[in-house]
């Protein structure tokens, strides 16, 4: 048992020695270490400066037994004297300390530990790097500028585990308008705890309502990789603000971004990332287009960051867009380089079913086939070139508001930032075939436009029933903001060669200038409008003998103001055939069906020159004045006009010549007149002439009639001829002598039937009354039969 007593005494002695050493450490070492520390302050500053790469100043330094070195009011100044003066004020900073007594007393500072963080960083973002380095964050994670996104805070506050970074609204990238005005990072654990959780709650400066929340955690293993996991949640996140160059193409009025992204550093110093990002309620093109349930899901994104400044690649192996229960997949790649970022994205041949289009555009009606969509994007954020190719076949789009129907659309539309290419787009617009090709090269200066259009004029629809008409037009020009200068050439002809109802008509505008408002806004388009001017418009019909000389309209001017669904052309004017014409036009598509109206006035136009230019023998010559209005309204097509021809002549017309030969009324061969005027209107497929007046030395005519488009007519005509105008050898002259006619003989007829076979009643008049008084009933019957034969249509 003696050994037990010995062991007890030894233990008690050891305990007393330990207590004595501890008391000595607590009571003696701190003052001694503090004395060493005060004596060796320059060395401590130098060591801290080497660690922090900055000049270190602090007010007091002391050593505590359990806390190690305590420095108060530490101020760091960057080594670079050109760098802005900055200060890190640390209330308390602790560091493990090793006191070395041999070979000579010294104090070694291993690391700094922030125990009561309350600091202020002002100035350059390098200060942030200093802070992170001081916090012993693995250097692999200090990715200063792996992408052209930087943070330049004016202040970073950390108080009771909450980090606040204040930035002067600096953009996150060149050309970007996305900025963080304030980022709050909440550290829920000290940095030496693993993992460290953080929350970044950002307000995007460009969008006051926008908000971006990033939650995450940093998993760190000393000497190994550090993994950061983030959950991104965005509210009303305007993606277009990231890159203003895509703002015109894609606009996201509001939306959210949610996802989990894992970032880790690989052993070779590269960053790797994988994650899944989901977007919700993103819009494209216009609000509400995608904004219902569209989801953009990007998965399997991998980073390959090479070095500090790149180049780096971001590949999206599979980009999935889910919307309306449909799924589109594609691939994308972003190359990050030091100077610029290059984007390349391919979407392989997605199909947009018509039911999705119907869902997106409920106001439109889609029928028929799907629309194939091919999307490719390439370029940098400074110049992004998307290729959007639509391939449609046998689909029908109906706009009930404007009563427009696009059916059997077949063709491709390739839209890029430098070029808009429409290659042989064929469609039926309201059952009218339209074939369009367009090439607009916007990447050059000036912008060049080459377009060709082929359609059937709706106005010739009546003729199209028997033989289709086709209009072809091509435009070649250059666009230098704000004016377009180009040339237009075209032709109207029958679609079936060899079955010409009328010879082709060519038209050309050698120089057409379209001047847009300097600021292309809706208000300017409404008030200032678009000014069109052309020195000449040449209309050249073909005749059986060949091309006509052509009709040239000179000094054409027009000003068009554009409102929503409404185009008003004012100050339309020009000269042609020694005459002037003015007019205005209006097209209003705001109502269903649409309305249009054209008002024209012509003065002093020489008909002879007009017909000569058109290559047609002139049926009538003289000086023409015209004032008319053509309008299309829900009630149908209406034409109302007034025409006057002064000092003219009706040229030889076969029917009138035959009538002159039969009756002996010579002026009918070639009617010369002082004035010919008529007021007419067209509505409900009926032309109403009230009245038609011809005043001449050899004839006076007056007529009111209604003529339908089917050739049927109804009306009355009154004609007066002088006695000397009737050929002496004619039966009429004999009859006039027989009944003793007046110097002027009058004929009044009631007309009915059709133009091909007239039904005529000779109305009572002075001349008829004399014939009835003098001729016997038998002679009257003979005369009637003869006139009946004379009016009979040719066999």
């Amino acid at each position: 048992m003696a050994w037990r007593g010995t062991l007890f005494r030894c233990s008690k002695l050891a305990l007393l020695v330990l207590i004595a050493v501890g008391a000595a450490w607590a009571l003696i070492v701190p003052p001694v270490a503090s004395a060493f520390l005060r004596r060796d302050l320059p060395r401590v500053r130098r060591q801290m400066g080497q660690v922090l790469q900055a000049q270190v100043e602090f007010r007091t330094a002391s050593f505590h037994a359990w806390r190690g070195v305590v420095l108060e009011d530490v101020r760091l100044r960057p080594d670079n004297p050109r760098a802005p003066v900055s200060t890190i004020r640390v209330a308390t900073l602790e560091s493990p300390l090793r006191v070395r007594l041999w070979p000579r007393p010294a104090l070694e500072l291993r690391e700094l530990i922030l125990v009561r963080p309350e600091m202020m960083i002002e100035g350059d973002p390098d200060n942030l790097r200093l802070l992170l380095r001081a916090l012993q964050v693995q250097p692999q994670l200090v990715v200063e500028r792996p992408v052209p996104v930087w943070l330049r805070p004016t202040a970073v506050r950390m108080r009771r585990g909450r980090l606040t970074i204040l930035t002067p609204a600096h953009p996150l990238g060149p050309g970007s308008q996305l900025r963080f005005d304030q980022v709050d990072a909440s550290l829920t654990a000290a940095w030496w705890f693993i993992p460290a959780h953080f929350v970044v709650d950002g307000v995007l400066g460009a969008e006051p309502e926008s908000r971006l929340v990033i939650r995450g955690a940093v998993h760190r293993r000393r000497g190994a990789t550090t993994r950061v996991e983030m959950t991104i949640r965005g509210y009303q996140f305007n993606v277009a603000r990231i890159n203003p160059y895509v703002e015109d193409l894609v606009h996201f009025p509001e939306g959210s971004v949610n996802g989990v992204v894992k970032i880790w550093a690989t052993p070779d110093g590269r960053l790797a990332s994988s994650g899944r990002i989901q977007t919700r309620d993103l819009g494209a093109g216009q609000p509400g287009l995608w904004g219902r349930a569209a989801k953009l899901i990007a998965s399997s994104i991998s980073y390959d960051l090479k070095g500090r400044w790149g180049p780096a690649q971001l590949r999206a192996e599979e980009v999935v867009v889910k919307t309306a229960g449909l799924r589109f997949t594609g691939q994308g790649e972003v190359r990050l380089e030091q100077a610029q970022t290059r984007y390349t994205a391919q979407m392989a041949s997605g199909r947009i079913p018509t039911r999705m289009l119907q869902w997106l555009f409920p106001e439109l009606e889609f029928k028929g086939g799907d629309i194939e969509l091919q999307l490719a994007v390439e370029g940098t954020h400074q110049r992004l070139t998307p290729h959007i190719i639509f391939v449609t076949q046998d689909s029908t789009l109906t706009d009930p508001v404007h009563h427009l129907t696009f059916s059997k659309v077949d063709g491709t539309i390739d839209v890029t930032q430098e070029r808009i290419l429409i290659d042989q787009l064929e469609a039926f617009v309201n059952d009218v075939p339209v074939r369009l090709s367009l090439d607009v090269v916007t990447g050059t200066t000036p912008v060049t436009v080459t377009a060709s259009l082929e359609t059937y004029p709706r106005q010739l629809e009546a003729l199209r029933r028997t033989n289709p008409w086709v209009m072809r037009a091509s435009v070649v020009g250059q666009y230098v903001f704000p004016a377009f200068t180009g040339a237009i050439e075209g032709q109207v002809s029958t679609a079936t060669p060899g079955r010409e109802v009328m010879q082709p008509v060519e038209f050309s505008i050698p120089v057409l200038t379209v001047e847009l408002p300097a600021a292309l806004t809706r208000e300017r388009l409404q008030t200032q409008g678009v000014v069109l001017s052309a020195p000449a418009l040449v209309v050249r019909p073909h005749t059986p003998a060949g091309p006509a000389p052509g009709l040239t309209l000179q000094e054409l001017t027009a000003r068009a103001t554009l409102e929503r669904n409404k185009v008003v052309v004012q100050q339309l004017g020009g000269t042609a055939c020694q005459g002037t014409f003015t007019g205005k036009a209006m097209v209003d598509a705001s109502t269903a069906p649409g309305r249009w109206e054209v008002t024209a006035r012509v003065d002093h136009l020489q008909l002879e020159a007009l017909w000569q230019g058109l290559g047609h023998p002139p049926p009538i010559v003289g000086e023409l004045a015209f004032d008319g209005r053509v309008s299309q309204s829900p009630g149908g097509l209406q034409i109302r006009g007034w025409t006057q021809v002064l000092n003219g002549q009706v040229q030889r017309v076969t029917a009138l010549a035959l009538l002159a030969q039969e009756t002996g009324i010579e002026p009918l061969q070639m009617l010369t007149f002082r004035e010919l005027s008529t007021t007419f209107r067209f509505a409900d497929d009926v032309v109403t002439v009230e009245p038609f007046v011809l005043e001449g030395e050899q004839a006076r005519l007056r007529s009111t009639c209604r003529i339908g488009t089917d050739g049927r007519l109804a009306g009355e005509i009154s004609a007066q001829f002088p006695q000397e105008a009737v050929r002496g050898s004619s039966r009429l002259r004999w009859l006039m002598r027989f009944v003793g006619a007046d110097p002027w003989i009058d004929f009044d007829f009631k007309l009915a039937g059709s133009l091909k076979s007239l039904r005529v009643q000779w109305l009572p008049g002075e001349f008829k009354r004399k014939i009835q008084d003098r001729l016997s009933p038998g002679l009257q019957r003979m005369l009637e039969e003869e006139m009946d034969k004379m009016l009979a249509p040719p066999a």
Partner: protein
């Protein structure tokens, strides 16, 4: 029991002539039985077309609207006489039931209007040209043809008017 007329076994023309004779002798029922048999036996014979008109007018007189319209519709597909065509058209228009307030021309009326309007006419000292037609049933139709309209009297009473406008 009624014995079948001897004409039933004859040619369509003989049967038609026999029917007209029976009509003149006031044996209308037998005449129309003969005409019905003619139409049934020889639907494509030229005399059958005239028989349809006579039978249609008979049905119209007896207020058998359905059968009358059936006969006139068939007759107007292959009319035999321009004035009979006018009469058949006028009867068709009068017999066709119309809803209250329903307006608009029947296709037969439009076709007749176009045909008359395309017929050339010159009236110098008269207001109208007159034609008279007596049908096999003995109705007297008097046509007054104006340049812009047509008036018809039936048995001395104004019966039908058609504007050509």
């Amino acid at each position: 029991m009624v014995a079948a007329p001897a004409a039933w076994a004859a040619t369509p023309r003989d049967r038609y002539d026999e029917a007209l004779r029976l009509i003149k002798t006031q044996q209308r029922e037998q005449a129309f039985m003969l005409l019905r048999a003619l139409i049934a036996d020889s639907p494509n014979h030229p005399m059958t077309r005239q028989a349809r008109f006579v039978l249609g007018e008979y049905y119209a007189d007896t207020h058998n609207r359905t059968d009358a319209l059936r006969m006139f519709t068939a007759y107007l597909e292959h009319p035999t006489d321009p004035w009979w065509e006018v009469i058949a058209t006028a009867l068709t228009i009068q017999l066709t039931p119309r809803r209250p307030g329903e307006t608009g021309a029947l296709p037969q009326e439009t076709a007749l209007k176009e045909r008359l309007a395309s017929k050339q006419l010159f009236l110098a000292f008269r207001e109208s040209r007159t034609h008279t037609v007596t049908t096999p049933l003995g109705h007297l139709y008097r046509f007054r043809e104006f340049v812009d309209h047509l008036e018809i009297e039936r048995d001395g009473v104004a019966w039908y008017a058609l504007s050509l406008q």
